[in-house]
Symmetry: C2
Subunit: 328 residues, 2 copies
Amino acid sequence: MLRIRKRVSKSRKRIGRNCICTLLLITISLLLLVWLPRLPVLLALFFPSLKLMNVKEDQGKLSAIARQGSGSACRSLYGGFVKWIMGKDEKGSDSIAVQLADEKHWDDLVIVIAVVSSRQKETSSTTGMRDTVETSMLIQHRAQEVVPKRITQMEEAIKNRDFPSFAHLACADSNQFHAVCLDTCPPIFYMNDTSHRIISYVEKWNRSEGTPQVAYTFDAGPNAVLIARNRKVAALLLQRLLFHFPPHSDTDLNSYVLGDKSILQDVGVQDMKDVEALPPPPEMKDNIPTQKYKGDVSYFICTRPGKGPVLLSDESQALLNPENGLPK
Amino acid sequence: MLRIRKRVSKSRKRIGRNCICTLLLITISLLLLVWLPRLPVLLALFFPSLKLMNVKEDQGKLSAIARQGSGSACRSLYGGFVKWIMGKDEKGSDSIAVQLADEKHWDDLVIVIAVVSSRQKETSSTTGMRDTVETSMLIQHRAQEVVPKRITQMEEAIKNRDFPSFAHLACADSNQFHAVCLDTCPPIFYMNDTSHRIISYVEKWNRSEGTPQVAYTFDAGPNAVLIARNRKVAALLLQRLLFHFPPHSDTDLNSYVLGDKSILQDVGVQDMKDVEALPPPPEMKDNIPTQKYKGDVSYFICTRPGKGPVLLSDESQALLNPENGLPK
């Protein structure tokens, strides 16, 4: 999912709600892939409420309403690949998301999310965005000169299912988003050493293959969202990740790899003994002995780009209690 | 010491020796403070050789010759505060350093260097600079729009011994240097979690005091160069650093704090028991319990801005063997 907004005030005087949002929008990342704990709850309350009220607004207008609650929510009314249009209204009324392609358009893609153990206190994305817009000397150049071109290129890459371009753009833009966070006063560090190591391993592997196999993107936190070009690559990726970031020995593998666990079978891993027996990836042969970082990742989630929210007909599948709206 | 160069090719076609150097020059940092293991050896060989050959060139020309060996060497022919002028010649013949003020001009400043334990393979600064010039979309904007203004402001701050401006410029520019490293393809991470923590502690302390007490700058590595506004502040800084980053219990404190150890007395620390008894800094009171990172710093160096190289009259003080030029 493509996030798009570019409402950076030229004068920096318009440091209002919309400007604050700028930083998030001008990152390019796959949304369904992003691990946002609050988002499902927001959508789980918002979407059924609209249906309940028999709201007949089109999806674009619903997206603008959702935008008032959260930037992530406005994009998440659609599945597949979504572009977030900045809009011009100061209050964000025309800030809507549009679907570029549904989830079936590019169904080779497989996503592995590394949820990274973090010991550091995190900066909230809202505070961070405000500080960046107010203090970074690079953010305006990024918003005006870099992002618009990348948005066009990313739309083209998605349209053509051009994985090398897609990966190059996603990785470069994720890194630049974090660069402007670092250029903030005081600086913001969302990524940690584990995030950096994951990037280094992916970059090394991609280079050794001659063409990108995996793209990465990082949101306002240390967790890596890794997009493999297909299922075969996803299995090789998970193999590498388990080699470098094994769980503590007493961990149940079943709680360390969540989501589509069938990829574990492709990797040939059934239990902790198999994890411990994994060979170093061939591209690491010059690093002897290859270092392992046990416990630096909390768990992995294997998933794929999905569809937007749907109203469940079977109440038992709901995660919220229909009587009081609280999590079951 | 102020490093100044801005030779970024507009067309990016001039990716030659001078362009490669650009990244280093456009950082602003205190040179004497930077921990460069190779530099003393280079100067120790270069400076006496010139004297031996009875070279009568002025310091500017010597600086241009030194530039051929290393960017750091050309600045290090002077003490105090030095500005590195880019020059126009492709081969760098007019790339020289000039002294803005000697070390006595601002003798309140005290420097504490935190040599950070690094488990990661480092990127060489030469390779990193080349990659950044070739791939960063932000480096040109930084070189053309941001650095020239900062250079002027930094000269003014040094002239007026204006510590708040000095600290703001040094910190912001160090962060922006690392931001463009992150905007490189593949991204370069010189700082690690320990570096980030040191920055966060300093920023928090400076904010709580209402005006900067300490400036920080990071070169092409994870080590923090911290500049305290005076000796009293340096003692408070070292106290905080020892609290957050105590050595392993079996460490001799004498090998953990190097250089001017007398600051330890100001801190009231004589042995490991005193380190363990240090109270949390008052600005950390909302972080209960305050986390400690034992072993994450290898050692500290306490020093001050110094003078340039001098020819030793007492041979016994030399670090190199006069007969074979090898370290004693």
